[in-house]
């Protein structure tokens, strides 16, 4: 009975985190992006600096009519948002935020493979949406999504493999237990590759070709309205949280910090994740969208060689230490 309660409590907490943190990131994006462009951003909803803007947006989305195009493949069209969103929920389950046993939703032996595999599944949602919408812009968006995923999954995996080699384990808490501060300069190239490839996999600007609004309206999500559209947006922000959390855990040492590791390790994790989320927003504001061929070129001619070089470096250092 106690075990059941424990599992239920963990699930509830993870679900709450999953519902709240992406909204916090979204609100931060509203405000940071506004100020980076010399604007104020939302100011009314909720009274104080528009803190409840996303809640209001959610209410608005819930009120909208849920339209399914006449020619669409109904069932797949309606299933796609869930397929896009659920994997991120599962990934958050596996990210450890503190050193103790209770600070992770579920310890998974092959943690790296789990998170990368499940994140890859999330893209299936975009593909299904793109195909099932019976809209040529949606189809183009789906195609671009697929091409982008195929190109960026590889450098992401290679960069993660480099960390796994360094730690000698593929379990996320295991990697953090093995972490030393000098891994930071050692794995810095891998960290950059992982972060950039993750951004591309999430279709965040400047890698937002699949939803390029000036070219293909909103890509795979063109035909969506109401709550289903909101779920896609939520998936994007949950993806940011997951990517930043993973980069923190794999490359920035998670709960390790200059001081206060024992009791306040989770603060370090959250702090690093928050800084990375800020960087994600910062990059979105700063850079224009890449063109499709530039996107592919970046993946195949820059990121993959860099990731391979990182693996070679990791191997050499590892052998030298032993």
């Amino acid at each position: 009975m106690n075990d059941v309660l424990d599992v239920a409590l963990r699930l509830v907490i993870v679900f709450a985190v999953f519902m709240v943190v992406p909204l916090v990131v979204g609100q931060a994006e509203h405000k940071v992006m506004a100020h980076m462009q010399g604007r104020l951003g939302p100011m009314y909803a909720g009274g104080f600096h528009g803190w409840a803007q996303l809640v209001a947006d959610g209410v608005k989305f819930a009120q909208k009519e849920d339209v399914v195009p006449a020619d669409a493949d109904r069932r797949i069209f309606q299933l796609a948002p869930a397929v896009a969103l659920l994997p991120y929920l599962l990934v958050i389950l596996a990210i450890p935020i503190g050193p103790s046993e209770g600070a992770v939703g579920q310890v998974i032996d092959a943690g790296i493979f789990f998170v990368l595999a499940v994140m890859g599944v999330g893209v299936l949602g975009s593909l299904m949406a793109g195909w099932a919408s019976a809209n040529k812009f949606s189809l183009l968006g789906g195609l671009r999504t697929a091409a982008q995923l195929l190109a960026y999954e590889l450098p992401m995996l290679l960069a993660a493999a480099s960390v796994a080699m360094a730690a000698g384990t593929v379990s996320l808490p295991g990697i953090l237990n093995a972490f030393e501060w000098w891994w930071l300069p050692w794995q810095i190239v891998g960290a950059l590759v992982f972060f950039v490839a993750g951004l591309a996999e999430l279709q965040r600007p400047p890698f937002d070709m699949p939803v390029a609004d000036s070219e293909i309206i909103f890509g795979a999500y063109t035909e969506y309205t109401g709550l289903r559209f909101a779920l896609f947006l939520l998936a994007e922000y949950a993806g940011i949280v997951v990517l930043c959390g993973l980069t923190t855990v794999l490359f920035l040492g998670g709960w390790h910090g200059p001081f206060g590791e024992d009791g306040l390790g989770w603060v370090w994790t959250l702090l690093k994740t928050g800084v990375l989320a800020f960087v994600v927003i910062w990059l979105r504001v700063t850079y224009p969208r890449l063109r499709e061929d530039q996107l592919q070129k970046l993946a195949w001619t820059t990121l993959i060689p860099l990731a391979l070089a990182q693996i070679a470096l990791t191997g050499i250092v590892k052998v030298a230490i032993n």
């Binding site: 593909l127 789906g142 995923l149």
Partner: protein, 229 residues
Amino acid sequence: MILSATAGHPGFLSPTGVEIAFLLVGLATFGAAVVTVTTKQLVHAALWLVVALGGIAVEYLLLTAEFIAWVQVLIYVGSVVVLLLFGLMLTRAPIGRSPDADSGNRWMALGASVPAAGALVWVVVDAFRTTWIDLDGPAQGSTKASGEFLFRNWVLPFEALSVLLLAALVGAIVLSRKDRQDRKDRKDRKDRPDRSDGRTAGQVRPDTRARRTGPDRTERPAADREDNS
């Protein structure tokens, strides 16, 4: 890696919860696989394939082979099916039935697949026979166990497979390179000015212009996305 036989298994007539789950997931996977090959809708077939492959991953998980399960999801669901869908969308992916996709080789396919499936089942059954896995003990399919097993006992097949994949990779590169060489030859022939015939020169010009203003040469940053700000 799951060969560690344990003596004294409980027998078939008193199944545990895991065994029942294994059987049910197996049935679901089999059903998804059957739908995959019988459905008339191309993209639905690919999506049912996702279900079938995911079911297999769940079976691995139930057998405590966690690493294999996640790799199954990563490679097959995350990459192979995405590639499949990509190919379908690029060529033809109509919504609804596509009866013309049936090649009419149903009997031949059946004739090829039934013996193949029979052979596989027979090999697996014969190899493991009454081997039982102890699910309650330490996970026998963990990453560590898989790694040790793979790189101690099965290094040679592993390396042979990697050489095979390398050969495939080199072959793919050679094929694409050859194609480019062909195009270059054709272009050289076209670019050579043919003074006796003015029409040839006229045909060349649009081609070269298209290349000069191709997507590689123009740097045109698009505007930032303003969707949900």
